[in-house]
Point group: C2
Chain length 501, copies 2
Amino acid sequence: MPVVQKRTKQPTVPPRDAFRYRQLAGEIENKIFSGLYPPGDRLPSIRSLHRQTNLSISTIYQAYRELENAGLVVARPKSGYYVQPVAMQKLEAPIFRKKSSAPQRVSLAPAINSVVEAISNPRLVPLGNTAMDPALLPVKPLARILKSITHSEMRTLLTYSPSEGNPELRRQIALQTTGVMAGITPDDIIVTNGCMEAVALALLAVTRPGDTVAIEAPTNFSFLQLLQELGLLVAEIATDPQEGVDLDELEKSLDRNSVRACLFMPSFQNPLGALMPEANKQRLVEMLSARDVPVIEDDISSQLYFGEPHPRPLKAYDRDGMVLTCSSFSKTLAPGLRLGWIIPGRRFNAKIRRLKAGITMSTSTLDQCVVSRFLSGGGYERHLRTLRSSLKKQLYRTALEIRRHFPAQTRLAIPQGGSLLWVQLPPGVDGLDVYQAAFDRGIATIPGAVCSNSDRFGNYIQISCAAPFSPRLKSAIETLGAIVDSLFPAPGCSRQAPCRP
Amino acid sequence: MPVVQKRTKQPTVPPRDAFRYRQLAGEIENKIFSGLYPPGDRLPSIRSLHRQTNLSISTIYQAYRELENAGLVVARPKSGYYVQPVAMQKLEAPIFRKKSSAPQRVSLAPAINSVVEAISNPRLVPLGNTAMDPALLPVKPLARILKSITHSEMRTLLTYSPSEGNPELRRQIALQTTGVMAGITPDDIIVTNGCMEAVALALLAVTRPGDTVAIEAPTNFSFLQLLQELGLLVAEIATDPQEGVDLDELEKSLDRNSVRACLFMPSFQNPLGALMPEANKQRLVEMLSARDVPVIEDDISSQLYFGEPHPRPLKAYDRDGMVLTCSSFSKTLAPGLRLGWIIPGRRFNAKIRRLKAGITMSTSTLDQCVVSRFLSGGGYERHLRTLRSSLKKQLYRTALEIRRHFPAQTRLAIPQGGSLLWVQLPPGVDGLDVYQAAFDRGIATIPGAVCSNSDRFGNYIQISCAAPFSPRLKSAIETLGAIVDSLFPAPGCSRQAPCRP
């Protein structure tokens, strides 16, 4: 129903009240997302809110209209406003199949190059771009730091930093681990060019070409690319869309194969969004320590949790120095500043230092200065709170739109953090077909096929929610839904007798 | 002789004339260094200069005194001023021994860690630090570029750059190759985190652990560290202190050993300063192409030539895409901005792109923006001219002081570019002893032993001239000379019957 037409019927809101109704809508929205107003519940009436808040009737009406347009609220005639029943309803999670694979060479899906190009193409709607939109980043404070650099400070900025990183930055990173990992000091931290260099150094430290690395299925396709370039084999381990890598499956693989290392992402896994339960983390670290298999963990998204507490990295359970924790500021501050770090643990610290010195010598002095000043300035925690709340809303909004516009057989779970949705398409619909048709209509997505090494997950797509929800994104999801609908039922199947995925 | 005492006898120069005498001294100095006034020649008399230039007698006298203090000019009573006979005299070059070695594991000199720490210790006199002093770098223009970045540009600076690099920066780098290498387009260039990442990517692209890489003896110790970390073996090829790697020795090594790749620095080699003749470059590339052995070249110093023309990289002779050229702005603009590049050639271009994407994803957007703006601004050529002239003076000044304060049996060649002096100590004097004694007196140098894999070059030290010559450096060289003198003759040798090195 065209919104513009309806708007002509609404009470006019003077511009000075626009801020108030948006603020009220935001407050109600937060209560819905936090579960204070459960799905299906009746919301306070306009009159009761008017009495409570002193806001005008038209302002409150406008706030509810806003929430209605966002799909969070439904108006029932002569009854009032209700939380959209589907809003917080547990969506049906993708089906988990316990299927792991024996070690094999990496062979990337043929679509990979096209996908990588599409997701970084700024002209396409960014439903595949996992890099945070600058609107979510502290652009102004960072720009102010640049302006504050004096000529005499610039002299220092042109010289090399210590290979292991700027001491103040390492101190700030160590401070961030308080309450999450015990006993991390600046000496434990080595600054890298983003999380990818950290992972690459870790792989170079613990493997040689031809070795086997256990990975999650599905996994971040950038890892597959890196593993291929380093000449490594991969053993895919079945990974639960909600709880992460399956430990029984991993144990079987370790028994059967000579696995040299593991590369996992326990918190808000890419692409699943899965969060490994704390008990599983402990069991995983103990299992690997007992077998002397190091584990490289990508901890890049753990600060993007929606609830409490901050998920702990595997490192928090590491007694034998077998966990190499990799992270970065790419998801929280600035992808383009290329600042990451690795906490290799005592067993690999010296080796990683030598590799870092050998491969990139040191990290940009300017980037390190800008970020360490931002962290020292004290605004990081506040920024993270805002970022988490924005991501949570973006994720819910996107999930609601998918629910609304995709065929009912679509499945997805809303993760407890991060910015990714892993969408299982209706039976028989091929993610690559969806990707291609969406691309032709100016929308970038990630087909599930590129996230594994064994032609699996063809029935999935990954949707990234790294940009503020907007009419452009809303309409792109609607288009995607129409595309999926047009591909379902697939040839040879019917809605009555759907093909198995 | 204390200079201060002498100065009291000189005609007083009014402050407003101070600029003029320095300018005149600079002009004469340039003529000496360019060979217009050869060593031993009589310089124009004070009276004739007075007539020619309209400068006052005292100003001209002051200029000659300045040159005398710098060791470039000698006053002969009742005769006039002469170019110091030793000044441009060809110093005796270090002795070249045609000694290569079979492939072997890298085993770094035990002193390496101490040396790496010493040369980056800002409290020590930087005679071992090869990083350019900020006084030689365009600090102000770069600081101005930072200040000019607007809030809205900052949004873009926080996002990822393309993995292969900022298009404008790649265009500027391609423009730099005009007249030096034919046919290089921006597409041929991949931006890296400094030259070291370029070399590391090249090694990862063309070798696997256990392969043999042919290297120069002596070589840049950072290469030895990297080769060790990547699990590569090295075959050392005898390298002439003036002409670079010996091609007959290389040919023999290629015949005998299975060499997978070469890693050479043809222009102003680190640590020798050697410049490979153009004919040798051509022969080298043809020899390797015929055997299908790729060569990785470190071209980082080729822009630092003192004469004309710009030395051509091996790439200029490459017809089969077998040369991988690595370079950076670390020697010319800013070590700390970590910007380098690789021109891998058509055969390895795709592989290097994949490795770059896999290992560090992309390079700092901010660093790339700052440097590409500086290059587009058009001041780079002028800056390079100033830099070359400063380096040339620093190198000559340092060489003269070494000549003056070290025992006569010391040998060194002044290279035709770059910033390094390779000093052969008198017979029996151990570079590590010199390094240690200098370190104890607050001076950092590089002992020759760390520049090879076969316990050779113990009789050498490397002196870096990357900072403007100053009284502090002058006095450090004097101290070094006293240290070398105190160690010579070494125990068991005598000045009359010196031990062989």
